[in-house]
Symmetry: C2
Subunit: 351 residues, 2 copies
């Protein structure tokens, strides 16, 4: 990864508000800008300073090429303050979405001469468009999850519990070389399928259960995300019609993906299909979200989204319906937006 290039682009973005430096306090942003995987903060400036502690000092020096490493016996915030003082910066930006109120107060008190400026979403904005190396890692993660799901499907039989199945998925992933799951697997059987974000239970699958499988892998820090809905034995009444509607909604969403399209418009395309099927109320969440170092990041595809898609965005398209007492259906795939259209990264078969 070209960490120095990312730092240069971030500094360029800070030139707008005339800021020579940024206090980088979001853990993933420290990794994104330096490659360092331990705990610490970064003073992003002409000479970047990685503020960590002695537990991570050796890794910091190995991983964060081009950065000064500071690992004194003090908190990371104190060491960040010392780095600002050392550089005699008159003006410094901070990340308002990760710096806590208490940390901000500590910095402001320790640096009465420096002007602290909230600059939201500078690094988040850079992360929106993935570099080819990042897309390759996400695609690798998606492929590993595809394979682990394929191995899981034959095990979806009456008597197997949600926890056992989730565990089997995790095991397949790790054996295939993933770093791990990108989030706690969702295996939601029967009544639990009606919960959009069900926690795992010891409930054994039963004949006639709908099962929602929401699964992802992590490779090189990057995530994948995918959902499939299957049925154990004979489906409940109206399953085919409802599944068909969700499937058509997903297809409409996918067809709407394109650079320049607004996130709200893509959501609308899918939502209309479910509304026409009388299932608009049951589609109780947004259509999708970005995926990268985080399994949920920008851009968002939802009614309230203000995002416009760009080439290099990686997003999910995942319409779902939830009917208490009956069950739920969600289908989710992962896409990279390209200049023309979108390329699908998940490939597991669907009903």
């Amino acid at each position: 990864m070209d960490y120095a290039g990312r730092r240069a682009r971030a500094l360029q973005a800070l030139a707008g508000p005339d800021l020579p430096a940024l206090l980088v306090t979001h853990p993933l942003h420290v990794r994104y800008l330096t490659g360092f995987t331990g705990e610490g903060f970064l003073l992003l400036a002409e000479t970047p300073v990685l503020c960590t502690d002695r537990r991570f000092e050796v890794e910091a020096r190995e991983q964060a090429a081009g950065c000064q490493v500071s690992a004194p016996e003090m908190s990371h915030v104190q060491s960040l303050i010392a780095a600002v003082q050392e550089a005699a910066l008159p003006r410094v930006g901070f990340e308002p979405d990760s710096l806590t109120w208490a940390q901000h107060t500590r910095v402001a008190e320790a640096l009465p001469e420096a002007e602290l400026v909230a600059v939201p979403r500078v690094i988040e904005a850079l992360r929106l468009c993935k570099e080819p190396e990042e897309i390759a890692l996400i695609a690798q993660a998606a492929a590993l999850a595809d394979r682990a799901l394929e191995e899981l499907l034959p095990a979806l039989a009456p008597g197997r519990t949600e926890k056992q199945l989730a565990w089997q998925f995790t095991q397949s992933l790790l054996e295939a070389g993933a770093e791990g799951v990108s989030f706690a697997p969702i295996v939601a059987g029967g009544p639990h399928s009606a919960l959009p974000h069900a926690a795992l239970t010891d409930r054994p699958l039963q004949n006639g259960d709908i099962v929602v499988l929401d699964l992802g892998a992590q490779v090189g820090g990057y995530c994948s995300d995918m959902t499939r809905t299957v049925v154990v034995g004979d489906p409940p009444g109206e399953f085919a019609e409802r599944y068909g509607a969700v499937r058509r909604a997903q297809e409409a969403g996918i067809a709407a993906l394109a650079a320049g399209r607004s996130g709200a418009k893509v959501d609308r395309a899918a939502r209309e299909v479910l509304e026409e099927a009388g299932l608009g109320e049951q589609f109780s969440h947004g259509l999708g979200h970005g995926v990268g170092l985080e399994v949920h990041e920008g851009p968002t595809l939802s009614r309230l989204s203000t995002a416009t898609l760009e080439a290099g965005n990686v997003v999910t398209v995942e319409p779902g319906i939830y009917l208490a007492g009956w069950g739920g259906i969600r289908i989710e795939d992962l896409f990279v937006i390209e200049e023309t259209g979108a390329r699908q990264l998940t490939a597991a078969p669907k009903l």
Copy 2:
């Protein structure tokens, strides 16, 4: 767990600064005060309001007995603001260590009439002294990790990689019924043992390697934490002497554990032993930390600690030395502080 009792104690703590309510934004604090395991914030007040979204609405109603549940289509912060407006609170506390600067700004702008008061570490203070049910879960987690380590030890042979061994530990834990690991396992072999917080690699163990195993389990949301140092084959020169010094340092630390004792004094007791052995400089971190819902929480045992131990605290005692080019040694056990002395929760054998 007696969630209503915890909320009552928290409200009592807020009576001091004359606050009728607290914006609870730390995810573990929401769980600690309500039992809710999904995503959301809590307005802790006479009538508590759990602010989540439709993905978690069903679980919220099931899990958070005694709380109003609010799950509108808006961000959790917006819904928290709405709850404060609804209750017409003139004054409300917030958690400065979890509320971000941006969230604070949003709340302050939306509630110009309300006085927002930073009240640090209210819930953290309650969490310091564990209830019997919490200690039982931590002890369960520790026992599962003991057993999984026992199963791992015969596998520590030349050729096995750090990742394979960590994975085997995780597998044993999950098969034994743990929710998972309480942190990414550390299996640091040979030169990596000299890193206090080594990341897993594909390096195969070799004859003569020191191996530091820092492992923990999670049960019911509660963590355990333990470290053992072993050797594959013949130990390197000076291993016995150095191991003996770390072991004696740990014993001195353990002997110093008592309600009423300061965290700095317990650290001192162990540190003096290593200083006398000429290894003071190599003991580059604090002696220990609290363990509970988080694997690192208060109280801290270190030179800079301002904590005083109380009955019900659960803490690690983990002296370690790190010598680049030679290797490292750390030994860690987990204790609950009692009125007289301390009770050990980890039981895996040591060299």
